[in-house]
């Protein structure tokens, strides 16, 4: 808008209004960012700095939190440590300052890998099955269609944890307790209602004429679905996948209940990292920071798809 402009458009905000709105958004973003920034900073504090009062905003950065996150350590006498000779690596050096030696890797990497396998596995399954189901509901005459859709939605009408005990017993009988497969199936089941309903909306918006044209041109229905429907449902699929991934990635209650070792994901593991004299806050913060990264990464990668997902339907008709 030019500075000279004095006309007031009904649809376009005045420049003052724009600044105000922009300012509010920035302030809100900063407020919501504070805990995240604090977690990020705590990950680079030494344990004493992390619990000092008043809290330290400026501190000497240390990698101790990250080292503690990935290792298990044992306390040794200073004589024993001196007998080992000079430290070989930078992380040995950090640990030895606290009169400890590294005993081995911690379980964090395993838990993180579980999170990735279960989170992405269940997201893929939920989106894959959800897309096919949504296409079916959108295009075919399904007997009792409305009732089936309501039934699928009704699985969301209670908190999932309400069925924790039956699922616990069921999983114990089926041998699915503490397995990655069990967790993938569980998260898929929870996410599939969201996926079907979201994707049905997106697929309903794609005119049938596209598929019909392809079918007349000599393609089978499945080929038409693959070549014509899927590319146009891309934005919806991306948005759905993000929502499913966020749920599966953050889920805490079920994984706490149903897994004990093998298939445990990162959420129940991170808050229980014990250090000297209680929780090892820098290690917890470091674990949380690493845990947040994949979601941040995927949201940033898919942000255009998500934005287009919101403006879906604004195409020329």
């Amino acid at each position: 808008m030019s500075a000279k402009s004095t006309a007031h458009s009904v649809v376009e905000a005045s420049s003052g209004g724009k600044w105000l709105a922009g300012g509010l958004v920035v302030v809100y973003a900063l407020v919501t960012m504070i805990p995240l920034v604090w977690i990020f900073l705590t990950g680079f504090k030494s344990p004493p700095d992390s619990i000092s009062y008043p809290p330290k905003v400026f501190f000497e950065p240390s990698m101790e939190g990250y080292v503690n996150l990935f290792t298990t350590r044992t306390r040794q006498t200073s004589e024993y440590i001196e007998s080992l000779g000079p430290p070989e690596t930078w992380y040995d050096e950090i640990v030895r300052k606290r009169n400890m030696v590294i005993a081995g890797p911690s379980k964090f990497a395993d838990r993180y890998l579980n999170s990735i396998v279960i989170g992405f596995g269940s997201t893929f399954l939920a989106v894959f099955l959800g897309t096919l189901a949504a296409y079916g509901f959108s295009r075919f005459k399904v007997p009792l269609k409305d009732d089936l859709l309501f039934f699928i939605l009704s699985t969301r009408m209670m908190p999932p944890i309400a069925v924790a005990i039956p699922i616990y017993l069921m999983y114990r009988t089926l041998g699915l307790s503490d397995t990655a497969l069990g967790m993938i199936l569980l998260y898929t089941a929870v996410n599939i209602s969201l996926a079907v309903w979201l994707l049905k909306g997106f697929i309903d918006e794609i005119p049938r004429e596209y598929e019909e044209a392809a079918v007349v041109d000599g393609y089978s229905r499945l080929q038409a679905f693959w070549k014509v429907v899927l590319p146009q449902a891309r934005t919806g699929i991306a948005a759905t996948a993000i929502f499913c991934l966020i749920f599966a990635w953050n889920e805490y209650a079920f994984v706490l209940l149903l897994t004990s070792g093998e298939a445990q994901t990162a959420p129940p593991y991170i808050p229980l990292i014990i250090g000297e004299g209680g929780l090892d806050w820098p290690a917890v913060a470091a674990g949380t920071t690493l845990f947040l990264l994949p979601i941040v990464f995927f949201t940033v990668v898919l942000r255009n798809q998500l934005l287009r997902g919101i403006t879906f339907g604004a195409v020329r008709k």
Binding site: E209, E212, A214, V215, V216, D217, G218, Y219, R316
Partner: protein
């Protein structure tokens, strides 16, 4: 040999009868236009031929082969939709090449390239081949849509109001172009429209549909001059035909059963000394023609005159119907063929059916 033959085809959607006992044959190289109001079953007929719908009864043959139960892919037809016809995630080239890349019809890449370029030249869109389908104007989009049908050489092209979403100028251009292309290629086309002008100009034969029934099939001139019933008469011709109660306008020679007389606007003659008294209500100069609105015997009448017709609003004149041009319809709306057969038997022409000259009947003509 007929290219496409429909025999007694019936299609229902739940309880509504979309197409009812429809029989139609389309010869090789023929351009047949289905004309009718919304909901007459035009599009359903096309979709039945394409195989996008299955009929409950009847038979559909293409090239002498019964295709009633086959899938669209097996039928060797093309379909141009009213809209949404381009794939937005493809370029214009890929859109045009799409039918040639279909499994089972797959052509070598070089042939596809040549074919697409040929069609693009024919439709004058060769400079747009690299564009995304969404970066085209409405007219270009529709030309690509038609082009996507033309890249193939199917038994029959099915077109569902392909020009209806375009503005008037573009519609006219594309109409002429389509007819030219059809003649050049010798293509067989079944075309659906509700625009009588498109039907008249494009068709070798017109099929008029009403409520799922094929009311009349014939050459445009034939359907225009000898419509089977009032509905067909009203559907063709612009401005619309004048429909007046029998016994008015001084039409003396008429069959006994006639209750309604149809007079095309161009058959209303002004300034006749022996005619019926009339008053000019309005005059619209359309360029080559002049449309005159007349008030005659409590009726409103449209008359189409030459470009420089000397008429003024409010002028009193006398009108007559061109001899032999009037169409007669019985009480059920069907046309009575040959006015000369009925008229001698009637006693007095004046007593034919004078009561029908009520106000509600007069509203027919407006």
């Amino acid at each position: 040999m007929p290219e496409v033959a429909l025999t007694g085809v019936t299609k229902r959607f739940d309880k509504t009868l979309a197409v009812s006992d429809l029989s139609l044959t389309i010869a090789d190289g023929e351009f047949v236009v289905l004309l009718g109001p919304t909901g007459a079953g035009k599009t359903t007929t096309l979709r039945l031929v394409a195989g996008l719908e299955r009929p409950e009864e009847g038979r559909i043959e293409i090239d002498g082969r019964d295709v009633t139960k086959t899938t669209p892919a097996e039928r060797d037809v093309c379909f141009v939709f009213q809209q949404y016809s381009l794939y937005p995630h493809y370029t214009v080239f890929d859109n045009l090449a799409f039918p040639l890349r279909a499994p089972g019809r797959k052509r070598p890449a070089a042939e596809i390239q040549a074919r697409v370029e040929e069609i693009a030249r024919l439709l004058r869109i060769e400079s747009k081949l690299k564009n995304r389908a969404t970066q085209l104007s409405g007219g270009e989009m529709q030309r690509v849509a038609i082009g996507r049908a033309l890249v193939r050489r199917p038994s029959i092209y099915l077109m569902d109001e392909p020009l209806s979403s375009l503005d008037a100028k573009l519609r006219e251009d594309l109409r002429i172009e389509l007819k030219r292309i059809q003649r050049d290629l010798g293509a067989t086309i079944l075309y659906v429209t509700h625009d009588q002008l498109e039907a008249m100009t494009l068709a070798d034969r017109i099929g008029v549909l009403a409520e799922g029934r094929l009311v009349q099939v014939g050459a445009p001139r034939e359907v225009y001059e000898r419509p089977n019933d009032i509905d067909v008469a009203r559907r063709l011709g612009s401005p619309q035909i004048n429909l007046v109660p029998s016994g008015t306008l001084g039409v003396e020679e008429r069959p006994a059963a006639a209750t309604t007389v149809g007079v095309r606007p161009e058959d209303v003659l002004l300034h006749r000394e022996d005619g019926v008294a009339a008053e000019v209500l309005a005059v619209e100069h359309l360029g080559v023609e002049t449309l005159v609105l007349l008030s005659v015997e409590d009726l409103t009448l449209r008359a189409l005159l030459g470009g420089h017709a000397p008429v003024a609003i409010g002028e009193a004149t006398r009108i007559a119907v061109r001899p032999g041009a009037a169409l007669f319809f019985d009480e059920r709306g069907r046309r009575i063929t040959g006015p000369e057969t009925g008229s001698p038997k009637t006693g007095s022409p004046k007593t034919g059916s004078p009561k029908t000259g009520s106000k509600s009947e007069a509203a027919y003509g407006t």
